[in-house]
Amino acid sequence: MTATQANTGQHRQPVHPGTPPAHPVLRFWRSAVGKKWIMAVTGIMLLGFVFAHMVGNLKIYLGAGPLNTYAEWLRNLGEPALPRTVLLWIMRIGLIGAFFLHIVSAAQLTRMNQRARPSKYQSPRDYAAASFASRTMRWTGVIVGLYLIFHLMDLTWGNANPRYVRGDTYENVIHSFKRVPVAIVYILANIALAIHIFHGAWSMFQSLGLNNPKWNRARRTFAMGFATLIGVVNISFPLMVVTGVVK
């Protein structure tokens, strides 16, 4: 009889059975701490993307020329060392990979957490620290993910935008946002994105283990500032188009 079995009359079987694989990478991937690390690293990549995307899009306020020039520059990035759009595609593949790992990790951790508490509390919880943002990560994540598909169909592939003209980024954006329901979808999705970023940008330090009590307050401020910046700027685009400020 092992100590574990003898321990109580209770079941002491693992909630999540199985043995870790031998290879360190697989072992790392299997563990929740490893997955959270991966989520943090991919999260940083995605934050970088969101930030750069936002910075690029700000050129909408400079007019059609600069925005389209910027879009063209992106395609030419890496020339002449690399052929046109190759670097852009490398970045895109990297981003797709980051999204994929971020989402798969999140889904697997969610399942793990559901199994870890099969019967819920039967009375309302009174949270002392868990914020709305932290508790809704999986929902804001799903919203942002769905929105992303629409966003690509709308402005990259064009199949959700009847007046899509390949290459004319500025006009595509204006035409898209002029549709009020689309503008509303964009605004709501970016609120979700900001909320998601608020918890993510704070939480990633924790997951990576990059913490120092001296900077704990600064981390909160950074997360709040970053999320607000992304949210406000991104929401401003549809808002300005719908209100006719940007034509």
Binding site: M1, T2, A3, A6, N7, T8, G9
Partner: protein, 638 residues
């Protein structure tokens, strides 16, 4: 029966080394062949089980807790003594030995105490190696403080949680052995009987507290480390589940119970607030370093303490003991408080406390310094009472805290039953009639880490080749049915009163008649009241539920049933000991100043009681105590 303490010959400083050389050894390959049962997972039990496991013995550990880490050692606050002399203040093994014998009012066995002082230094080394986070100086060296009126700073501490940290150290060592398969851990498993065959302890019978299953465990030796019996008083600083059951059932199988009347009352506890009070909370003794104890001069004074002028306050300890003042030893301080309360000058809503006032210290040292020294204690006090000690004086009163008595053991820590070892607070050996502060942790770990692992081989070596008695032996079957019978007997009473009711009533008898001050009259009263209460228990106790499931009332009933028998022995021992010493104060035997008056001519012995049956007069066996290295002297703290 002749009690042989097996104290080795030779000068006291060489006894332990000589003894370790003289005992028989078990060779490393043979240790696997021996199976040792350890009951209890506190400092003594956990350290013993871990060390025996490391040595290679097969160990089975039983604890009634859900985890070994919950044992009540965890609650010790102050610290652990060791004769390291890191402060260069004149400490030595000899001085720690001397202080302990004198502090115990000359009722401990010299050789045991000397060994305790010797191994104290190894304990600190061992604990540090395990990662116990003792307090440090800025240079990275260990910090010390003075404690309990000692004249040297020899106490090592980890904030106010020394017991917790030491227990976690032992628990972690134990956990490692569990992981390696050397220790088989059984939690929520309560020992309810000892199995003795042909004069040798060969196993225990235990009940699994969740399933109710009664199960036998066999071994070549049985180690009890099951703590003290302070809860016989109902209200004490002990944990709710602390009990005498394992020791008592062993006693009923022949082990002698020594000096049960030596109980320690700690002077600084938070007084009970009402009848519903379930336990008392200790406030560290260190508070007396800066607090002044007083009561109003008039018992009818109903003003709040800050309204009572200095001239109408009686700082009675400072008045009676000008030299030691508020720092007199525990027993002296406790009795003085009792006197004030008994004479009607108690404070608080039910007039059952005295003030411990920090006003003067706060004025002198500033609030900041006081926060640094005592903030966690002050917060704990406020949480419990709702009063802020920075503003109003604390109310304190003595409470039962530790029990020096316990099962009789020889120098090897083996009881008179062969193969039955008793460690820690459960035995009687090292503290005499009064324990010094920060010495309980030291003794528990000394027994478990160093003494037992060096002595148990002497008993086991000759048993090589003889298998442990099987659990199908009639002796085990008899003990199993004994346990099952008692459970059924308790469940079948179906009376009207709760288990707690009987415990509370027993506590009142014990506290009133055999508490801080005892007299022939009160003790005789208790000797007639306890059997009556016991009879009532067996005819009127009410326990719902059954014995085949998790039934906390049933668990408790078994423990209270034992207290109802044990309490009588405690009182009888107190009645028999016609002297005052340490925690045992007989009002008939006091000096003109009201101090304890020992009678070394007639009572310099350990009284070891032999069980003769419920309600029968037990037989006393006396182990004479000789003091060749410390001179018998009257304690004085004037």
């Amino acid at each position: 029966m002749k009690l042989d303490s097996h104290v080795p010959e030779g000068p006291i400083a060489d006894k332990w080394d000589n003894h370790k050389f003289d005992v028989k050894l078990v060779n490393p390959a043979n240790k696997r062949k021996f199976h040792v049962l350890v009951v209890g997972s506190g400092l003594a039990g956990a350290s013993a089980a871990a060390t025996l496991g490391e040595l290679g013995y097969q160990v089975t550990m039983l604890t009634f807790h859900d985890s070994p880490r919950r044992a009540h050692s965890i609650a010790a606050q102050g610290g652990i003594n060791a004769a390291k002399n890191y402060r260069n203040d004149g400490d030595s093994v000899q001085r720690l030995f001397y202080d302990t014998v004198k502090g115990g009012d000359f009722r401990a066995r010299e050789a045991n105490v000397y060994r305790l002082a010797q191994v104290s230094v190894n304990i600190i080394d061992q604990c540090v190696a395990q990662g116990v986070p003792f307090a440090r100086e800025y240079g990275g060296l260990l910090d010390n403080r003075s404690f309990g009126g000692a004249q040297v700073s020899r106490t090592f501490y980890a904030r106010g949680q020394t017991g917790q940290q030491l227990l976690l150290g032992a628990y972690q060592a134990l956990a490692r052995q569990v992981h390696l398969g050397n220790v088989d851990l059984h939690t929520r498993t309560e020992m309810l009987d000892l199995v003795v065959k042909d004069g040798r302890a060969c196993g225990v019978v235990a009940r699994h507290l969740i399933t109710g299953q009664v199960k036998s465990f066999a071994g070549h030796a049985v180690v009890l480390a099951t703590g003290g019996y302070g809860n016989v008083f109902y209200l004490s600083t002990n944990a709710m589940a602390s009990n005498v059951t394992a020791a008592w059932r062993a006693h009923k199988r022949g082990a002698l119970m020594a000096n049960p009347c030596f109980t320690q009352i700690h002077p600084t506890c938070i007084p009970a607030s009402d009848d519903f009070q379930s336990k008392l909370t200790l406030m560290s003794e260190s508070l007396r370093n800066d607090g002044r104890i007083w009561v109003p001069e008039s018992g009818t004074d109903t003003r709040s303490p800050d309204q009572i002028p200095e001239s109408e306050r009686d700082y009675y300890l400072e008045r009676r003991y000008p030299t030691f003042g508020n720092l007199v030893p525990r027993d002296v301080a406790s009795r003085a408080s009792k006197r004030e309360v008994d004479e009607g000058r108690g404070v608080g809503p039910i007039k059952n406390g005295v003030y411990l006032d920090f006003g003067e210290a706060i004025n002198r040292l500033g609030r900041h310094t006081m926060e640094e020294r005592y903030d966690n204690l002050f917060q704990m006090y406020e949480r419990i009472t709702g009063d802020d000690p920075y503003k109003v004086p604390m109310r304190i009163y003595p409470a039962v805290h530790y029990t020096m008595g316990g099962l009789w053991v020889d120098y090897n820590l083996m009881s008179n039953v062969a193969g039955l070892y008793v460690l820690g607070e459960a035995n009687f050996s090292d503290h005499g009639a009064n324990r010094l502060g920060a010495s309980a942790l030291m003794q528990g770990l000394a027994d478990g880490y160093f003494v037992l692992p060096a002595t148990i081989n002497d008993y086991l070596a000759p048993l090589l080749g003889s298998p442990a008695v099987g659990t199908d032996d009639p002796a085990f079957k008899a003990a199993e049915s004994n346990v099952a019978d008692q459970t059924n007997r308790m469940l079948s009473v179906k009376g009207t009163k709760s288990v707690d009711h009987f415990h509370r009533e027993l506590g009142k008898i014990m506290w009133n008649d055999c508490g801080m001050a005892r007299s022939a009259e009160t003790l005789d009263n208790a000797l007639s009241a306890i059997p009556a209460l016991r009879d009532e228990f067996w005819t009127d106790v009410k326990i719902l539920g059954d014995g085949e499931s998790f039934n906390q009332s049933l668990e408790k009933a078994g423990r209270v049933a034992d207290f109802l028998e044990f309490g009588e022995l405690l009182v009888r021992d107190a009645r028999d000991r016609e002297e005052s010493c340490g925690g045992h104060f007989r009002v008939e035997h006091q000096t003109e100043d009201g101090e304890a008056l020992r009678d070394d001519d007639n009572f310099a012995y350990a009284a070891a009681w032999e069980w003769k049956g419920v309600g029968e007069q037990p037989e006393v066996h006396k182990e004479p105590l000789t003091f060749d290295n410390v001179h018998l002297a009257q304690r004085s703290y004037k």
